[in-house]
């Protein structure tokens, strides 16, 4: 195949498929083992400085925020992050200095809430580097190629644009149609965190609602940490095996963290905490405000349980549950004029 054009973005988290197969052979267990551990231990064990990390979920939805706060607490350094519609997660990882390089599909923004002052500042001042651009479909297809054990996947997005020029993709002449086609390289993140509704102690997971790109991401990951609202009995998994969306042999750690997606949304359980988001968006306008937020909500608490107390405890969590169930009106201070 003739290569017609090459993106100049840095090729990140790619492995030769045989090298990756050998890594799987040596590092991933196929036996049914109890993988439960604490969040502190899981983050300490599986996140190394300089790793390429990716989070399951999307935007403020079903993201393992508890793991994000723990990475900041452990002051992880020089991480590269997949900005695959990364919102609060990437914003605070950049603001706290944990992430200094990014591959961007969507970052530095909070969707309807506006842009992210802290992470934009970091990119504009040059303390955070954007190593490559990509699109949302492109990112999840990079994971899909990895999930299939392939070096790349052909797609019809990104063609003819600067998004392509700053990506790590290549355009070739498709040998079947004769038309140009974009080849996206596989992406095997070093560590992935996925927050799920429930799983057993071995890591067989059930998710309610949209999967987003977690089918692909779970298989693309080298190390996969599952945080879960609830650990359930193995029999419940086996009584409905068609509901298992991530099987145990992909999973390296199982961590029970109720409300682990806060301040984000966990479909059917609790809505996003827009009062907390408004506080962050206001504070993060200045470096002093960022420091105050991190001191208060991350460094100043021992763990995620203490954080949940700080953001309003049971009363706040019940309110978010009611908003999710459309039984209470949404309070969104950032929307007030």
């Amino acid at each position: 195949m003739d290569v017609l054009e090459e993106g100049k973005g840095e090729l990140l988290a790619w492995h030769d498929p045989d090298e990756h197969r050998n890594w799987i052979l040596e590092n991933k267990s196929r036996s049914l083992e109890d993988k439960r551990m604490g969040l502190k231990e899981a983050v300490d064990k599986f996140v190394q400085d300089d790793n390429y990390i990716a989070m399951g979920g999307f935007g403020h939805i079903r993201v393992s925020m508890a793991s994000i706060y723990e990475m900041i607490r452990q002051r992880k350094q020089n991480l590269i992050m997949a900005g695959k519609t990364a919102v609060h997660d990437i914003d605070i990882l950049i603001a706290s200095g944990c992430v200094n390089r990014v591959e961007v599909a969507y970052s530095f923004g909070h969707e309807l809430r506006g842009l992210s002052p802290a992470s934009r500042r970091a990119v504009e001042e040059g303390t955070v580097k954007v190593l490559a651009e990509i699109s949302n479909a492109g990112f999840q297809w990079r994971f899909k190629a990895a999930a299939m054990g392939l070096p790349f996947i052909p797609t019809r997005v990104m063609l003819g644009t600067d998004t392509f020029k700053y990506s790590s993709a290549k355009v070739v002449k498709d040998p079947f149609s004769g038309k140009p086609i974009c080849l996206l390289p596989a992406c095997y993140p070093d560590v992935v965190f996925i927050h799920v509704h429930r799983c057993d102690k071995f890591g067989n997971c059930q998710i309610d609602g949209i999967m987003i790109e977690d089918f692909e991401l779970a298989r693309a990951a080298r190390r996969l940490v599952v945080t879960t609202e609830e650990i359930i009995d193995e029999e419940r998994i086996r009584n409905a095996p068609w509901r298992t969306v991530i099987p145990f042999y992909l999973v390296d750690a199982v961590v029970e963290v109720p409300y682990g997606s806060h301040p984000g949304n966990m479909p059917y359980l609790y809505y996003s905490d827009e009062e907390h988001m408004a506080e962050w968006l206001k504070l993060s306008r200045s470096p002093e405000g960022v420091k105050q937020y991190l001191e208060n909500y991350v460094y100043g608490v021992k763990n995620f349980e203490e954080y949940l107390e700080l953001i309003g405890g049971v009363k706040k969590l019940n309110y978010l549950k009611q908003v999710e169930q459309l039984r209470a009106p949404l309070k969104a201070p950032w929307a007030e004029r």
């Binding site: 999307f58 040059g126 651009e133």
Partner: protein, 259 residues
Amino acid sequence: MEKKVEYNTTELMACAASKILEDGKSVFVGTGLPIIASALAQKTHAPNLLIVFEAGGVGPRIPMLPISVGDSRTFYKAAMATSMDYIMSTAQLGYMDYGFLGAAQIDMYGNINTTVIGSHDRPKARLPGSGGANDGGSLCWKTIILMGQDTRRFVEKVDFLTTPGYLTGPGAREKVGLPAGTGPYRVVTQLGIMGFDDKSKRMKLLSVHPGVTLEQVRANTGFDLIIPEKVTVTKPPTEKELKILRTEIDPAGMVIGKS
């Protein structure tokens, strides 16, 4: 005599965008104004409009305005809650009729920038990037762009070409391998509605909003916009449309409260 109906620019844009959508077609939406326009179309002239969200929501009965493209409102009582691979693949297959996009900058061929202002490596302003815009703009049959219009946004050359319009003109999309027959269809701003000339693929004024002059449109466009002899006036929002917007779709005013 008709009663004078008060509305703001955002409401006008939502109503204008909603009228573009046809019943029985599909629309690939993001948050904010696109979902408001689509929900309005569904509640007025297009009850069988299929609304699809890139994160996996298919045909939801949206109970309130979602804040995120993936939040639980985007698949509330939906026909299907699936994955991004599924949605993007069906877009690549040709199932998505309309796609909505926003933009920080646009040029005469409808090429869009949502990545950086200034240079990529030392940006004056860093914006979120493509998100699903490049995908929607590449794969949907017809894309509709909603944005503000002034000379900083309607520019001769975009600082970064995030999402493809007609690139350099007729045939350019097909030449680079994009799906044939796709491309930008309408641009809705606070001043009017633009389309694209069939032959040259250049942006062309179709209608001005009530009270807007051609001179205002020219003064707020940084490139040579085709202004045909016949330019109509956009139909203003009706009381019924405004009531649906304000009481059913965005009662908190999260989007339409901002003009």
